[in-house]
Symmetry: C2
Subunit: 238 residues, 2 copies
């Protein structure tokens, strides 16, 4: 059960975000802001798992309402930005989430986990809001303006919608090489199938009505996979 | 606009699944069952994108209502099975989805795309049902019994919940090697951090209150990444 002082604290957070607190499940909200470093048995692990799906649903609904004229590939690229740790941590940080997060002291002093703990607790927070009333209405009103301004920034980037350019930038920056695109036999008429290879591994496959659109799709799939792999390698080296 | 004969056909599909058709958006439903091989401009691409998030939300809600006593790692493993092409295609096939799917003739004759076209159109179908009334109530009633029986089958498998065993089986089967687990320095007290390496690449990292639980988490993360990579390689070889 949440203590009165903790509830008062969390009311402050809800006030900052301008969320009506009448229908909040305070115990869930409390749990959403408990980092696993504080307790391995009572923490926000589960709510983060649940909140991930809540977030995706809010994001695709936002994209449908605002960018339905865009090709699906653009929407998928926007979605992967909008659900990224970097973006979630930035939104959480704008409300000073870290102050409300209960965690082990040494974890708090670790700058390396700052991004992921903010992002994870933000997802857990969304999970708690959804589960308080079993719908999205406590979330969309304040989250959508964030999604809107971030989307505008992303869409304004020169490499947006041009995954080939972004992938090439990445492989040249890291290994001074270009991605290799291989057209492979398609089983459907007028459908081109292309794979993209980097460092002797196939990182993505794309289909399209032209070689170019198939290459773009392959690059769009390769990008997050390659970025995730680089992050794992850099964690491994530290 | 949907033709009367197509609407009659789609009513048959809804009858099979026992979905009340009063509030259905027929145009969306029609589009959900148009494969990109039929038309590159009017097809189910977008609804598949949207339906993916709808599906995940239905799945995590089902898991919350039925398996809330399970560790989060188990729920994540169950989710990845329940949203897999294999499972979605099997559910779609049980209602004879392929009969209702509009597609190019040569695509229909291609057995290699059978699984993915069923899975994709099933996700698009869920997207159309959600968007017809902007909630999940046309979906949960008939989909949950499927999720229940598939979950029971998965939970009964000996390797379930034992990702280390499953990963070992995979790497031995493919390369006659064992995954290598490396404990790395943790920045949090009483938290163990482990990486798992296969073929000189780090495929996953896990944290836990014991070395064993950290290894299980690392293996659980490595498994889908390695499976996806093998699938890409085998597509590349075909």
């Amino acid at each position: 059960m949440i203590t009165p002082s903790r509830q008062k604290e969390l009311k402050q957070l809800l006030n900052r975000i301008q969320i009506q607190d009448r229908s909040i499940d305070w115990d869930l909200l409390d749990q959403a802001l408990i980092h696993p470093s504080f307790s391995t048995s009572y923490n926000n692990d589960y709510l983060e798992f649940f909140g991930d799906s809540v977030l995706r649903m809010v994001v695709v609904t936002f994209l449908r309402n605002n960018y339905s004229d865009r090709p699906v590939g653009d929407l998928a690229a926007l979605r992967s930005h909008l659900v990224s740790d970097k973006v979630l941590a930035a939104i959480a940080d704008s409300y000073g989430f870290d102050r409300f997060l209960v965690m082990g002291e040494s974890a708090r002093r670790d700058p390396k986990t700052f991004l992921s703990r903010l992002a994870n607790s933000f997802e857990a927070f969304l999970g708690a809001l959804y589960l308080s009333i079993n719908n999205f209405s406590l979330i969309a009103s304040w989250l959508e303006p964030h999604l809107e301004s971030i989307s505008k920034t992303i869409l304004a980037q020169p490499a947006f919608g041009n995954s080939k350019a972004a992938l090439q930038e990445l492989t040249q920056g890291h290994w001074h090489i270009l991605p290799e695109y291989k057209a492979i036999a398609s089983t459907e008429p007028q459908v081109f199938v292309v794979e993209v290879w980097v460092n002797n591994l196939c990182w993505g496959m794309g289909k399209g009505s032209s070689i170019k659109s198939a290459q773009q799709e392959a690059a769009a799939k390769a990008l997050p996979a390659l970025v995730a792999s680089l992050e794992l390698q850099s964690q491994a080296e530290n």
